[in-house]
């Protein structure tokens, strides 16, 4: 392989949008392996050095599906000072925030303490990540807001972390991943929803994670490309579970954000749910309204990766069903499937809808309007 980079990497996105935008899915990374240590008790530093981290999935290191690009990231996103893509605030400002006029950037750190078998360690790491987000990112650039990362498999410690951060303006949502030990509507996760609702924070469900189960309903697929499309299947199970376990009924003010798993499938999932609910509702009497109503009332969707149908009218049909007030623009920076702000929305969208899509919906949802 032969890779060679230009010297002046500062180069911005080649085309820039002048209007201010929100970017609702940015992935900050750690520059070094030990960058979190200052936020971790000595006890956990030692634990990490001696035992490491035990995930729900039996992999020694790294994810089971190697990614299409190094660190699943754009090859032009390595900071000039070294370190992995997404690990430098200065470079993120130069490459993403400034040229694209990002007014609000929502940080969703991955490879955190989520999905770790040792729940105490998981809670400690998540809390450390949250401190680190303030120190390294949100306190240094007011455009950036963080997601509260929680030890997802232990609802109680997760709820405690949310309560501790509630009211802190550095945070605008709670972050879960789509692949967990159980479908997301199950009771073990309810304390998370309760605490989020009380704090007035939306819960973002980002594609990814490894809960120890096969990543598709029919087992482990062979290829990364299958993992990529599997994210939408996984989000569909999560959403069906949230509806059918009655999470939206129990927490009527809860807002969920489906992050990075597409949205083209939303109408058909809702139609199917409505149809079976009409016939089988006596099994789940706690689901009082047609599933589509909960979904349309309580669910938002980030755009990246946008579906890209051959006929753009098809895309508009889907968005019209979801609602132009429900989409949140996202780039997924610095990941390789990054969406360039000026290139994602086809022509033929009204000014008001464009504004809502790029900025307005996000500011409203995250309480920054």
């Amino acid at each position: 392989m032969n890779i060679q980079f230009r010297e002046s990497q500062e180069a911005a996105s080649p085309l820039t949008t002048k209007t201010a935008i929100a970017d609702c899915d940015i992935h900050p990374a750690r520059a070094t392996r030990t960058e979190l240590y200052p936020y971790l008790a000595k006890r956990w530093q030692h634990h990490l050095e001696i035992y490491g981290v035990h995930a729900y999935q039996g992999m020694m290191e790294g994810p089971p599906y190697p990614k299409a690009q190094p660190n699943a990231s754009r090859r032009d996103a390595y900071p000039p000072e070294g370190g992995p893509q997404g690990s430098s605030l200065a470079f993120m400002q130069k490459q993403l925030l400034d040229p694209n006029n990002v007014q609000l950037g929502v940080l969703n750190p991955l490879n955190t303490g989520q999905g770790i078998r040792n729940h105490e360690l998981s809670a400690a790491l998540c809390s450390a990540i949250n401190d680190w987000q303030i120190d390294k990112w949100t306190s240094k650039d007011k455009r950036l807001k963080a997601s509260i990362v929680v030890g997802n498999e232990d609802g109680l410690s997760a709820a405690a972390e949310i309560r501790e951060r509630a009211g802190d303006k550095n945070f605008v949502q709670v972050l879960l991943l789509s692949r967990n030990v159980e479908p997301l509507g199950q009771r073990r996760y309810w304390p998370i929803y309760q605490a989020a609702e009380e704090a007035g924070l939306p819960v973002g469900v980002h594609a990814f994670g490894f809960g120890g189960n096969p990543i598709t309903p029919s087992g482990w697929p062979s290829y990364y490309i299958e993992e990529m499309v599997g994210h939408s299947q996984c989000q569909q199970s999560a959403l069906a579970s949230l509806v059918l376990e009655g999470v939206f009924e129990r927490f009527p003010k809860l807002k969920m954000v489906m992050i990075e798993a597409g949205f083209g499938w939303a109408p058909s999932l809702a139609w199917r749910l409505d149809k079976v609910w009409q016939r089988l509702r006596s099994e789940v009497p706690h689901v009082k309204r047609p599933p589509s109503e909960y979904i349309r009332d309580q669910v938002w969707w980030t755009t990246q990766p946008m579906e890209d149908p051959e006929r753009r009218e098809d895309l508009f049909d889907v968005i019209n069903w979801i609602g132009w007030d429900r989409l949140l623009f996202a780039t997924d920076y610095p990941h390789w499937d990054y969406d360039e702000p000026s290139r994602v929305l086809p022509a033929g969208v009204s000014e008001a809808n464009r504004e809502a899509f790029y900025l307005g919906n996000a500011k409203k949802l995250y309480g920054l309007a």
Binding site: M1, N2, I3, Q4, F5, R6, A11, S13, P14, L15, A68, Q69, R74, R75, D76, W336, D337, Y338, D339, E340, S342, R343
Partner: protein, 137 residues
């Protein structure tokens, strides 16, 4: 069509590439085993600096289970979404009908002809004793 001198041959050895801007257009020139190729350094998909991607080969399959890997080092893979383009022609492999990236012929000219000829030296002073890589734009 203008002809641009972009490097002395020694500065662009095999396996390297050079990025430059000519008439406001971002261009990259590659030396692949002594052959030179110029490409527009902007991906027709979402506009990434295409030529910062790796040079790979072309994986093709005539039948499931049979994989052929050819054109080694002649396919550029976009650093963002990984679309693949033939650096000889600019043709894309994801959707050859709709997408291509502009290819610019590049070749070597002796210094004697460069000094006399209708060439524009982009970045370097030229002398008769040397050979130069030239791009047609």
């Amino acid at each position: 069509m203008a002809r641009h001198v972009i490097a002395a041959v020694d500065e662009l050895p095999p396996g390297t590439r050079k990025f430059l801007e000519i008439d406001g257009r971002p261009i990259a020139v590659f030396n692949i085993k002594g052959e030179y190729f110029g490409l527009m350094n902007r991906c027709p998909h979402q506009g990434a600096a295409l030529c910062e991607g790796p040079l790979i080969g072309l994986a093709q399959s005539s039948d499931p289970g049979e994989i052929e890997y050819t054109k080694l080092g002649e396919i550029i893979r976009c650093p963002w979404h990984g679309w693949e383009f033939d650096i000889r022609t600019g043709q894309s492999y994801c959707d050859p009908r709709r997408f291509r990236v502009k290819a610019y012929p590049a070749h070597v000219e002796p210094g004697a002809s460069v000094v006399k000829g209708p060439y524009v030296a982009e970045t370097i002073p030229v002398s008769i004793e040397s050979d130069y890589v030239v791009v047609d734009l």
